[in-house]
Symmetry: C2
Subunit: 231 residues, 2 copies
């Protein structure tokens, strides 16, 4: 069935910048898919696709994420809308970009899916991207950096149980600067949002590390009182 309008209309898509964190390599990563069709056939691109007329933008982003990368229940937030006229060579396409944060547990399921090839790349070493996806990615990374400083989103990138060193490595690789161990620990613990568990993380030939979990309930309470995370 065809659809006819008085004036020409832009096509509307969503694109997602999906971040993941590899604790063993202490590297921030992005999920890309390889395009099977022209234009930019065989190039790497952000997962995304057309917005259906009966779904919201958020729903479209979540649907595409699930279809293309098999990820669900991730942190997802709208980023920016890209609307230069020639960003797609075929026709006018306006894209609402989102960024997503995923926990490592979801990673394995992510790669093993769908028709298109999906792969994690370290943000420090990305392949050339299709369309204006490099610009979208840069915007997302800048946003993640800003967000991480003021809101506790870092936990979205770690497993439910994590060590303070893992958290510090995450902050360091996102912000791109080394942080002082003692000051970092003092600061994050001072917020009283991390609950120490009765377990430890043992790995390698050294003292085991205390495991913590993030307390989202307590965070919601603090937020209502006009609280800033600030690290």
């Amino acid at each position: 069935m065809k659809h006819t309008y008085e004036y020409p209309r832009a096509a509307l898509t969503v694109d997602c910048v999906v971040f993941g964190f590899d604790s063993t390599q202490a590297a921030l990563q992005v999920l890309l898919i390889r395009r099977g069709l022209a234009p930019f056939k065989d190039h790497w691109a952000l997962p995304g696709g057309f917005v259906r007329v009966e779904e919201t933008l958020d729903e479209a982003a979540r649907r595409e994420l699930e279809e293309e990368t098999n990820l669900s229940t991730v942190f997802l937030e709208q980023l920016y809308t890209f609307g230069t006229v020639d960003r797609d060579p075929r026709e006018r396409v306006v894209s609402v970009a989102y960024y997503a944060l995923t926990k490592p547990a979801d990673h394995t399921t992510a790669a093993s899916t769908d028709a298109a090839e999906a792969r994690w790349f370290p943000v420090s070493d990305l392949p050339p991207l299709a369309f204006d996806h490099a610009e979208i990615f840069a915007t997302a990374l800048a946003r993640l950096r800003g967000k991480l400083r003021y809101e506790p989103v870092g936990f979205e990138l770690l497993p439910p149980k994590f060590t303070l060193t893992q958290l510090q490595r995450l902050y360091e690789s996102v912000l791109g600067t080394p942080l002082d161990k003692r000051n970092f620990r003092k600061k994050v613990l001072s917020h009283d949002l991390l609950v120490p568990l009765k377990e430890t993380h043992r790995e390698g030939t050294h003292r085991p590390a205390q495991l913590f979990r993030f307390d989202p309930v307590r965070y919601e309470k603090l937020k209502k009182k006009g609280f800033l995370f600030e690290i």
Copy 2:
């Protein structure tokens, strides 16, 4: 001429939240237009309209602003894209919202224009708005509050020459809290971004106030060195 597509497409619009500041009343204001057509006929709404297929989103926002309110050369930044399915009763409409900051000099020209009636309203006393424009406005105000704390955008709302008291009143009415006069002056002057002029602002029966201007060149230099405004 008709335009036909394989799948139904959402219409794409831009809407602008235009802020102004009335120094004499120390009140933050928003520019609204009265709708001449259904739906929401005679309701107040944000200025905005359809995005043409050959113009970028930024261009569309600027064009609508000029057509509907006769404002040009204002600070304009993309805010958020609103895409719930039923936000427009007629059909699916996705709206890219912008917010704009205008200097008082532009205000007079703003009201006296175009077919539709345009008026400034204090943000503390808005009429009911059409569509989901109340939500868009709330998002814009929150964004302006955040932005003002970290970037020197306040000057976009003041005339080129202004007094420190005017600047303080602006901050107070946007942030919604009274500020300490001495601390405020110390802080803003410490950034070294305000240039004292050889003129004073005389008004009423009291000591005249020093006039300042903002130094955007110096700001650009500082910004490159990773500087934060922070007030």
